[in-house]
């Protein structure tokens, strides 16, 4: 498998992961809040779930997922900040979750950077010399004026109020 295909494969995997995590956050915010020591933050967790689902759809639906993967990196930063607030609580697995999110963040950053460099490597050719006509477009304008538009392709006179030719 080529490197570019592998990177796209990782991106798609992150897309599905986003959707899966988002569904859990959206459907079970209370259980998550309890487990992570974030009681009272259920609404925020559900909101993060919606964000994860939207990002996941964006990654899977786009031909170039680069901006969406960078979006995931930004979301990771939010997640890390939120989890950090639960660290001081006696009960809850915020520390374990922080480590897991940090790992995923690293993967997101590596994937986003690989996709971005792939984008930058694409050389852009200019086709400014591909006129397709023997003279400049200005000189060729109206060269086919001998063509008579068939009757069934003409726009009715009544629908041409803006032209002096009407």
């Amino acid at each position: 498998m080529r490197r570019a295909d592998r990177t796209l494969g990782v991106a798609r995997g992150l897309g599905w992961f986003s959707i899966g995590l988002g569904v859990v956050e959206l459907l079970a915010p209370r259980a998550l809040a309890r487990g992570l020591g974030l009681r009272g933050q259920e609404g925020l967790i559900a909101g993060y779930g919606a964000r994860e689902i939207a990002t996941g759809i964006g990654i899977l639906a786009s031909r170039d997922p680069t901006p969406w993967i960078w979006g995931r990196v930004a979301g990771d930063a939010l997640d890390l900040g939120t989890l950090a607030t639960g660290l001081g609580r006696r009960r809850g697995g915020a520390g374990v979750a922080l480590a897991a999110v940090a790992g995923v963040t690293l993967l997101d950053v590596l994937c986003a950077r690989a996709l971005s460099s792939r984008r930058e490597r694409q050389p852009v050719r200019s086709f400014a010399d591909r006129r397709g006509m023997p003279k400049t477009p200005g000189q060729m304008r109206g060269a086919a004026s001998d063509f008579e538009v068939p009757k069934d392709f003409r726009i009715p006179e009544a629908l041409r109020p803006w032209t002096s030719a009407a």
């Binding site: 031909r63 050719r125 086709f127 006129r131 006509m133 060729m140 304008r141 392709f153 109020p161």
Partner: protein, 389 residues
């Protein structure tokens, strides 16, 4: 023979398949000398067009040398050099007699299926969905041409394959798109999509005398080719299409708008496209009609929308009230290739236009599967691929 064969979504392979043979008295077999990958092949590649079957041979832009003719194939003989239009025509039905070749009443061998889905059948097409006959296509070493006595364009030896190949589809398609606009000398024509059909539409609009042609896309190399053809360009990723169009038309909007994009509009460029893509993913919509919505919004009241871009099925959230109140005229359809081909061949012979300007890649059949992906993803500055089997 070898051919590019559809096996499912994003799965096209170069396979060995049985050679075609004469099946009907008006058939001909041609040895393919050149063929091309078309933008609408990508709708099949991505499986957005219903009615494809595993094993279908792709391709509808084809030319070659007549190898064999059926007993009733008059006017064509072995050795003739022909371009094959993508629409198969009988030449005898009411629609063909009117020049409405793309809705020929007799060439679709799956007429019953098309009658059910479309209400009434349209013409048979090469290398396309079974709704239009499921005829084997021309990305192959040989092609069987039904109704070959009518379904061909004879071309002179003085012109190269690359100069005439696009008479099969993209040149007459871009031309018809412009003709549908009934262009007047004062007109501004805005063209969405600078792929091969968009490039032909730009040059057709210039030749037909449009005062201003504006081309909209986001791929820099395509925009550079559009500018070479005389268009003022808008990169929708870096500027607002609506604002720029209003600016370029003194706030009135273009009189004529052409959609050369069709059902696969850029999925992440706008909110409505993201919405369409999500609905496509859960099969609540088949097409992404962002360009249609934008054209309806920006077009000058009493203007014309010309739609050569291919749509496959159902679209959602079309602001039809806006279109109705603005009195817009819609012109659309597959191309009546043979209606324009004689005139366009003459223009190529006279040197008014050389359609080969659009070619960026030349390959053999074996490279076809990989090139589908390159073309789909707009990699390697790919705009038009010609295959020499």
């Amino acid at each position: 023979m070898r051919a590019l064969v559809w096996h499912g979504k994003q799965d096209i392979r170069c396979d060995n398949v049985p050679d075609p043979r004469i099946e009907q008295p008006r058939d001909a077999i041609i040895k393919v000398t050149s063929c091309a990958i078309c933008g609408s092949d990508l709708h099949l590649y991505d499986n957005f067009m219903p009615g494809m079957k595993n094993g279908d041979i792709m391709g509808h832009e084809t030319m070659g040398i007549v190898e064999e003719v059926g007993p009733d194939c008059r006017g064509l003989k072995k050795g003739d050099r022909v371009v094959i239009p993508f629409t198969i025509i009988c030449g005898d039905c009411d629609q063909c007699k009117r020049g409405n070749f793309s809705v020929c009443e007799r060439s679709n061998r799956n007429k019953d299926m098309a009658d059910k889905v479309f209400g009434h059948t349209t013409a048979g097409l090469f290398g396309y969905t079974h709704l239009t006959g499921g005829y084997p296509g021309g990305q192959a070493e040989y092609l069987r041409v039904p109704f070959a006595d009518k379904t061909h364009i004879k071309v002179p030896q003085s012109l190269t394959d690359e100069q005439v190949l696009f008479l099969s589809d993209i040149f007459p398609t871009g031309w018809q798109a412009a003709v549908q606009c009934d262009i007047q000398p004062e007109d501004t024509v805005a063209i969405w999509g600078c792929g091969p059909v968009g490039q032909m539409a730009i040059r057709s609009a210039i030749l037909l005398g449009a005062r201003q042609v504006i081309a909209i896309d986001c791929v820099p190399e395509r925009l550079s080719m559009a500018a070479a053809g005389g268009a003022t360009t808008i990169n929708f990723e870096t500027e607002s299409t609506v604002e720029r169009l209003n600016e370029l038309t003194k706030g009135k909007g273009p009189e004529k708008c052409i959609d050369c994009v069709g059902l696969e509009a850029h999925a992440t460029a706008t909110l409505d496209s993201i919405y369409d893509r999500a609905k496509q993913a859960v099969m609540l919509e088949t097409d992404r009609p962002h360009v249609l919505r934008e054209m309806m919004y920006v077009c000058r009241p009493a203007g014309v929308l010309s739609i050569p871009g291919v749509y496959g099925g159902l679209v959602d959230k079309i602001p039809f009230g806006m279109a109705m109140n603005k009195g817009l005229t819609f012109r659309m359809g597959q191309t009546h290739v043979n209606r324009w081909s004689d005139d366009l061949l003459r223009r190529i012979e006279q040197g008014q236009i050389d359609p080969s300007f659009v070619i960026t890649h030349r390959i053999g059949l074996e490279q076809g599967p990989e090139m589908y992906k390159t073309f789909r993803d707009k990699l390697d500055s790919c705009i038009k691929v010609v295959i020499r089997p």
